[in-house]
Subunit: 339 residues, 2 copies
DNA sequence: TCCTCCGTTTAAACCGGTTTAAACAGAACT
DNA sequence: AGTTCTGTTTAAACCGGTTTAAACGGAGGA
């Protein structure tokens, strides 16, 4: 409970001035090596760590990065993707003594308000831009606010921010090709809301892969939620010629769709093949196991944090980072169609 | 990009001293009403908001609360419970201009290190203690660190911290009674790790409710993960006289158990009734829908934040808060046993 | 008229760091 | 010996607030 030592205590103990301690700590040149050693020793003996608060004030930095998440269940923030992503981010931040600040935007308000609050309160030095939309208005907002950012995936408009990219198309292509190889010809997708960049990426990959095989795409749009997945599935199954295989843009919808198919009396995969996207924890354990696509959210978080920090540290041109694409995981929910 | 106004700008504009502006802002007595009005008007015109960083330094507060989460999949932090809990916390913090700081502890390290880091860096004014263990060592640690905390649920030992309590027993009792009323007599549970307070609460309620009905409990211990749920389920189903109903301590294990039962050829609920705990998003949509117990994690977060803030604000005796117990949600996964 | 008192306001110190400009000492050069 | 240079070190200002002690000015009392 005894008050923690300040820079003045260290200075006194080492017999130098505050300024010298600061120089020694930050490895500034111009101090004699012997003095540096003496100061570091004193700091060590006192167990001194510079106060974040004081540093924050004098250098005008927060030493923290921000993540805005919405309560809208349609966005990834509510996906199993997120905890691992956050862990990846933290694995970088904790080594640098930075903190991760969460900002939740409530149901009633605009997502932009979350960024505004973070900027206004000076809580963070930069933010992650997840769940990118087409012509995402948050990009202009952040430019206006002067808040550095990194986008998760590549925005379609002009963007002054570096991007960390995990291309969804190869993974999608892999699933669809898998279904085609099994012999399916009536393949449907339950897409995500077209406003999201990653949703349309999956949709176009789906459509293109089918087209390359000379097949007609069949699309229903969901909203990434389990409830939406059910609705879309029902519509597909009610068609005069229902599909024999359905690809879902995420696992939540896929698992719900699996339930819907079973509830309507179908056997998966005999009557209907089902595939998802994400490889969430439950995908392996539902019955039958869900064929899906596995990305590496932890690595995504790591890469995003590293990139954002380069920017925050004032690097001139921060390059985009491309992550290895997601892998196809084949499980019991996909099989050749019944004759 | 023009620099934001400081207290000095406001003081100059209002024709008073910095001190007066500070007094006016914080509603201190001793200023003439006319002066207060003048100052507030000036602040308003300039769009001035006091700098968090400067305030942090001078009053030695972080204006932030902390949440430590582990990557250990056995803890609630990885549950669907969490996003809603966090939203509840934020709903309180955002009105007070506070931030929520996340601290992830990695696989290799001790959970305590997370709290140590938060305290050492002075990032937060208090922390939430989730996933309480029996004789939880974090309590002593936080006392030692001098970091205020609120415990989620009631610790069994002595604790200087207020608790926010959501009693798991009534919900558990409700599910078990539901199963008994359906006519089941061989009822098993898949419990959570006994180190957790909430896991044993559910276990004892399970055992006591069965005992009250003159029935023998049957228990397998899981670890709150889907994989663990599967294992435990297999062990139960391999018994010479397998149960006709299984209660799982959370939905993740229950949904996995449902898959395992189906994979082994059983029909749910005809051959086996299954019930979970949490009412996660997918519970409603798997097939058959999962009978479970629904709590209100948002309200939990709200209550925890309010309680912790009372403590942080220096209230003398902060009372515990008791939340309404979880409700039974009956769906298709439970039915009377086949003769 | 002078003193006291009280409500109001302010100057200045403080929080704990960083940073700049100037002081300082010793060596090297005339 | 005096000057200049260079490598070290320091004093002091600064970041933007809060807080304390003292100054101030007008009203009331003697």
């Amino acid at each position: 409970m005894s008050k923690r030592p300040t820079i003045a205590d260290v200075a006194r103990r080492a017999g130098v001035s505050k300024g010298s301690v600061s120089f020694a700590l930050n490895g500034r040149p111009g101090l004699a090596q012997a003095t540096v050693d003496k100061i570091l020793a004193a700091a060590d003996e006192l167990g001194w760590r510079p106060s974040n608060r004081a540093r924050s004030l004098s250098v005008s930095k927060a030493f923290a990065l921000g993540l805005v998440i919405t309560r809208d269940p349609a966005v990834l923030s509510s996906d199993p993707f997120f905890p691992a992503f956050i862990a990846g981010v933290e694995s970088v931040l904790s080594t640098r003594g930075q903190a991760l600040v969460l900002q939740v935007v409530m149901a009633g308000e605009s997502e932009q308000d979350g960024y505004r609050r973070l900027a206004r309160d000076g809580r963070v030095d930069g933010v992650f831009l997840s769940d990118l939309r087409h012509d995402d208005p948050r990009i202009d907002l952040l430019v206006e606010l002067g808040l550095p950012a990194v986008t998760l995936n590549r925005p379609d408009g002009e963007s002054p921010f570096p991007a960390v990219i995990l291309d969804d198309r190869p993974g999608t292509r892999a699933v669809v090709e898998h279904l085609i190889e099994l012999g399916h010809t009536r393949i449907a997708q339950v897409a995500g809301p077209p406003a999201f960049v990653h949703a349309t990426a999956r949709t176009t990959a789906f459509v293109e892969t089918l087209a390359a095989a000379g097949l007609e795409p069949l699309t229903e749009t969901g909203d990434f939620t389990a409830a939406g997945g059910i609705e879309a599935t029902r519509r597909l199954l009610a068609l005069p010629k229902p599909p024999t295989a359905i690809f879902y843009a995420n696992d939540r919808m896929a698992i719900a769709g699996l339930g819907a198919a079973q509830a309507s009396g179908l056997t998966v995969p005999d009557d209907l093949s089902i595939a998802g996207f994400d490889d969430s924890e439950l995908a392996e354990y539902v019955h039958p196991g869900l064929t899906t696509v596995r990305a590496d959210p932890f690595a995504f978080g790591e890469a995003a944090a590293l990139t954002l920090n380069q920017l925050v540290d004032g690097a001139a041109d921060v390059p985009d980072t491309e992550l290895p694409p997601a892998q196809l995981i084949v499980r019991g929910s996909t099989a050749s169609p019944a004759v």
